[in-house]
């Protein structure tokens, strides 16, 4: 649609085309993967960087926000690996199996893949692509082909994790995918992960991204949640004010499965967090939540599509944003109830708390319902801190910055509550406290 209105490529688009042309012969993958990359890049090129003329990207115009495309990151050297040795602190001190990527490349010596429990397979994506792992052909890019940034990711994907959990297996220790940026020059990283959870299996995935100054990350994760499986996924993004982070979660949720997803964003320059969740089987439960804390000129966009293809599923979405400075948050949430998906129960809520006069929150909830026996609702609030609550706290001797901090913590806490792991909840709330302290609370 946009091809005809666009006369020429932006310099970022030009740089991406050159990067792809230069890299494609060396990117991992057999002939089928190469064909996938080629088709994906053509799809990306047709529309170019997502921009305000594309409805889904109206509030996050990457042609403006991404003036230049950084060169793809090279393989990390010993110094970069040494700098990344301590990565993973964003998740606190949870006991998790570390799977570490430095500048997008898997680093075995920093990872803990020894003695995997029965039923769990973890394979670096680069190796799986090169070896033609059958799970790639079976699942990669099959759930949702669409989005331009996912297409760009498919074209340029280099590494990530391929994880398989066998039917009925319970993985006791959470898996922690740690993405560390350790290169000294700004670079771009295209990481791609695929997690296949067979029926009745159970696993918790933590994904943490430490953004570094000037870096650009395009991360995509595809989750295949089998019938009756129980999957928790928590993604944390933190870091530099001028980093760009575009992430896409694609989940296909099977019958009677339980899926809990949480996205936490604190202090990254530009974030676009896309969540495409499709309910493929009946009677699944999904809790999808998130919190963003923004200041300065930061921009955070959460775009969610909960697609109820099968009936009898319950989905709950709660997203919160705290905005200071001149920051901007965007929430676009769409609940789709397909024909025949009767007894769907879906509720979506988004709340923005504005701590400054110049911050801006945009919220666009949508319901598309093609069934007649459903319960669906959405709500959106935005506003400043409750003055009467602040007065009550101050009347007890609590100075204004501390009173505000308590109220902000309570606001964020309501969303963070949905994370099942208490240690992780504490780790996130500590980051909230540190953020508040930095602003003077």
């Amino acid at each position: 649609m946009n091809a005809e209105v666009r006369a020429m490529k932006t310099s970022a688009e030009q740089a991406l085309a050159e990067a792809y042309a230069a890299a494609k012969a060396r990117l991992p993958g057999n002939g089928a993967v190469q064909a996938l990359r080629e088709a994906a890049f053509k799809r990306f090129e047709a529309d170019g960087l997502p921009n305000r003329r594309i409805e889904e990207w109206k509030y996050t115009d990457l042609r403006v926000l991404m003036r230049e495309a950084k060169p793809p990151a090279g393989a990390p050297d010993a110094a970069a690996k040494a700098r990344a040795a301590e990565a993973g602190k964003l998740a606190g001190d949870i006991d998790a199996r570390r799977i570490v990527f430095v500048d997008g490349a898997f680093v075995p010596e920093l990872s803990d893949l020894a003695a995997l429990p029965p039923g769990l397979t973890v394979r670096p994506m680069a190796e799986a692509l090169a070896a033609g792992d059958p799970r790639i052909a079976a699942h990669l890019g099959k759930v949702i082909p669409g989005d331009g940034m996912v297409a760009l990711n498919t074209a340029l994907m280099r590494d990530g994790a391929l994880i398989h959990v066998a039917a009925g297996a319970t993985v006791e220790r959470p898996l922690h995918l740690i993405f560390a940026a350790a290169g000294t020059q700004p670079a771009s990283v295209f990481c791609r992960s695929l997690v296949v959870i067979e029926p009745n299996a159970r696993v918790m995935l933590v994904e943490s991204h430490e953004a570094a100054a000037g870096h650009q990350v395009n991360a995509a994760l595809e989750l295949i949640v089998g019938a009756g499986a129980h999957v928790d996924h928590v993604k944390i993004v933190a870091g530099a004010g001028d980093a760009l982070h575009v992430a896409t979660l694609i989940a296909a949720v099977g019958a009677r499965a339980r899926f809990n997803d949480f996205s936490f964003n604190i202090g990254c320059g530009v974030v676009r967090n896309q969540l495409f969740v499709r309910f493929d089987g009946e009677a699944a439960l999904a809790n999808i939540g998130g919190a963003s804390l923004l200041n300065g000129d930061q921009h955070s966009d959460t775009t969610l599509v909960a697609d109820h293809k099968a009936g009898g599923c319950q989905s709950r979405e709660l997203f919160k944003a705290v905005l200071d400075g001149r920051s901007r948050s965007v929430f676009q949430g769409r609940i789709i109830v397909q024909p025949g998906a009767q007894q769907t129960d879906a509720k979506m809520m988004t709340r923005a708390l504005l701590l400054s006069e110049e911050a801006e929150a945009d919220s666009k909830p949508e319901l598309e319902i093609f069934a007649d026996d459903v319960q669906c609702g959405h709500g959106a609030t935005m506003g400043s801190l409750d003055r009467s609550l602040k007065f009550y706290l101050m009347a007890r001797g609590i100075p204004e910055p501390e009173a505000e901090a308590l109220l902000v913590q309570a606001f964020v806490g309501e969303a963070v509550e949905s994370i099942e792991d208490a240690g992780l909840r504490d780790a996130l709330m500590e980051q909230v406290a540190a953020w508040l302290k930095a602003r003077g609370g």
């Binding site: 007890r396 001797g397 609590i398 204004e400 913590q409």
Partner: protein, 252 residues
Amino acid sequence: MLEVKNLHVTVDGKAILKGLDLTVNKGEVHAIMGPNGSGKSTLAYVMAGKPGYEATEGEVLLDGENILEMEPDERAAEGVFLAFQYPLEIPGVATMTFLRTALNAQRKARGQAELSTPEFLKTVREAAAKLEIGQDMLRRGVNVGFSGGEKKRNEILQMALLEPRLCVLDETDSGLDIDALKIVSDGVNRLRSPERAMIVITHYQRLLDHIVPDVVHVLSKGRIVRTGGKELALELEANGYAQYQDEAALAS
């Protein structure tokens, strides 16, 4: 201890207090009674520093120092405590966190060291037990899911922990059944001390059977129109406020 001199207060541009004078000495309990709309709650809020309650004239002196220019937290650190008529619910802020933050903030403002965790827990548990506040209530968010009586007991718990010099109790009896009224009143009476002044604001005489005042004032149309001993409360209970509303009308 407290001297209120010619206090004029406007709220949303409307004059509510119109030259109120009041002196409360330490160790005394004064009751302020009056009909609805006479300015009782406005007096309570302006002393605590609620935004939007603007003193256009006059002074509120606490041991000689004018508190009107202070922020609410500074007044609290100076020893002013308002027990709210409608205590607010703060979901997500645990009661214990709230109590500890408040207590330590005041101690810090006064140059005292923070209480250690064991000291704090012991102090709260003892004070809470006297008010029949259980551990389950302390674990909840501030006032979240509390009944009206529980909220008022929680106010008195805060008062007991913060040990203010001047306590202002705004309609503390509203919404209380007779058992809760007794618990709350006993809590207040335990805090009576020769070093502390109290102002008990109430519409009804009932509370004053339990918290017996030294002085009773009648507030009407923004001014104190009569002052007497505790027997004045009984007279008001028998005759109502009608005559004072007329007197105030004549006086203004």
